[in-house]
């Protein structure tokens, strides 16, 4: 995920700190906000168990300490437990990023034994019907059950709820549900508009009023809940006029490996046209990180154009998100158009206006329709 700044008080000293493994693009759900590529079928040749293990070794030797197992749906890989055990032995802090579909009590117990430290559970809504609209599949019951199993086994858990126009009015209910399940951390993640989410942007984008109302509800809940649960919520870049400090800078501390072994500075970067990202099947991981053209292209700030080049904020936000700059302005070296100083900021304002003018109705959502695998609920 194109995360905003990660919390850390160390720098990678030129090496990756966070390793994200996208084990597969396949998924039993069809989320209309999914940030996975829209042209999946081109990259379905997944790395083998041995190849994933080599990636983990190599990245650990480079200094990576945090590992995330994501996708698609990582639990579709039968070797997940084996990979987690290996990561734990190597000294990584292991995170599983899952929709919960594909998990069972037995698998959770085995993941616990394998040394899994933490689970991020993706969640759509506090209302089964809305969850069905967003996920394209009926999965609410199963997710709630899994959330409770995860807590029963004592895993620390983050509930990740992508927030859009469909569920923003449910924020208080979502908070209550999270508190009832007993999660430590609730991430109300504003949908970021890449891939399927971009396809559905007019339908998904909430209004400024709805965001401000949600922000107040979050503040109230924080007051009531105190330390028992931490709620993460920020007004999204589209409305703030401030770009996100995407990935702490390109090729700075984040390393993502796509299912077919392609090495990326962030999951979304694959959608940048004209860039040829090398894969671990053909090249050494360290040489890709240090020497490949794609990793060096937007490293540091020498690639920047105005207004970023002479801007006092460039060391805080690194000029925002390269993928968003590309998708919206046609040039990844432009300032992220979410920035109010960008000469392209009107594009973001137009997107907001377009969503406002659209008739938002769940029946108009376009479900992610590639890489779907049926699973028993």
């Amino acid at each position: 995920m194109a995360k905003a700044g990660s919390n850390l008080n160390l720098d990678g000293q030129g090496n990756p700190v966070w390793l994200l493994l996208e084990l597969t693009y396949k998924c039993p759900l069809k989320c209309a906000f999914c940030s996975n590529p829209t042209d999946l079928d081109a990259h379905q040749d997944e790395l083998t168990t041995a190849e994933w293990k080599k990636v983990m070794h190599d990245a650990r030797n480079m200094g990576a300490m945090q590992i995330g197992f994501s996708g698609g749906e990582p639990t579709l890989r039968k070797d997940l437990e084996e990979l987690v055990a290996e990561a734990n032995d190597l000294g990584y802090y292991t995170n599983l990023i899952t929709s919960g579909i594909g998990l069972t009590r037995k698998r959770l117990e085995n993941l616990k034994k394998a040394g899994l430290r933490h689970i991020q559970l993706g969640f759509q809504s506090s209302d089964p019907q809305t969850a069905h609209w967003l996920a394209g599949v009926d999965c609410y019951e199963k997710k709630i059950n899994m959330a409770r199993e995860i807590k029963a086994l004592g895993f620390p858990m983050v509930l990740n709820v992508p927030i859009s126009s469909l569920n923003i009015h449910q924020v208080p209910d979502i908070i209550s549900l999270a508190a009832d399940i007993g999660v430590e951390y609730l991430e109300l993640a504003n949908v970021q508009y890449y891939n399927w989410a971009l396809v559905n942007r007019d339908q998904l984008m909430p209004t400024r009023e709805a965001l401000i109302a949600a922000e107040a509800q979050v503040a109230e809940a924080r007051e009531q809940l105190g330390d028992s649960m931490t709620i993460f919520f920020v007004i999204p870049d589209y409305y703030e006029g401030r770009p996100k400090a995407c990935m702490n800078g390109w090729g700075s501390i984040h390393l993502t490996i796509a299912p077919d072994g392609v090495v990326l500075p962030c999951s979304q970067a694959r959608s940048l046209p004209g860039l040829d990202f090398p894969g671990v099947r053909d090249h050494d991981l360290a040489s890709i990180w240090h020497e490949s053209e794609s990793f060096n292209l937007y490293r540091g700030d020498s690639w920047m154009k105005e207004p970023c080049r002479s801007c006092s904020e460039k060391e805080q936000d690194f000029g925002g998100c390269r993928c968003q700059a590309m998708l919206l302005t046609g040039d990844a070296a432009n300032a992220d158009p979410a920035c109010s100083k960008s000469p392209h900021h009107h594009i973001v304002q137009d997107a907001v206006a377009s969503a406002l003018a659209s008739k938002q109705d769940h029946s108009r959502l376009i479900a992610r329709d590639v890489g779907w695998v049926p699973t028993e609920m």
């Binding site: 990660s6 919390n7 850390l8 008080n9 160390l10 000293q13 090496n15 700190v17 480079m62 200094g63 300490m65 945090q66 000294g91 802090y93 995170n95 430290r117 933490h118 991020q120 004592g154 620390p156 983050v158 430590e184 951390y185 330390d227």
Partner: protein, 97 residues
Amino acid sequence: MADSNNHNSLARFSIAPVFMFRWEESQQAHVLMYPEGIVKLNPTAGEILTRCNGANTVEDIVHQLSELFCEQPEFIEPRVHQFLEVCHGKGWIQPQS
């Protein structure tokens, strides 16, 4: 500043389960990892947290550190208490019951 003697000298602390604490060769430092981040600790902090293993009392930690750094226990004690207070406040450590 909170009273730095809030913690009983006989209390025992351990690292909270969300966190993973260990030496990191590539950083030449102890690190504390949690889902959303990593904290790199300075040498003294690293030595104190290493001893938060559920077995040492705060008093034990004070004595071990005063030996390690060749300082009087009277000098070390308030500093250890203060640091443990901060760690507890951040949720890094929890008292053993």
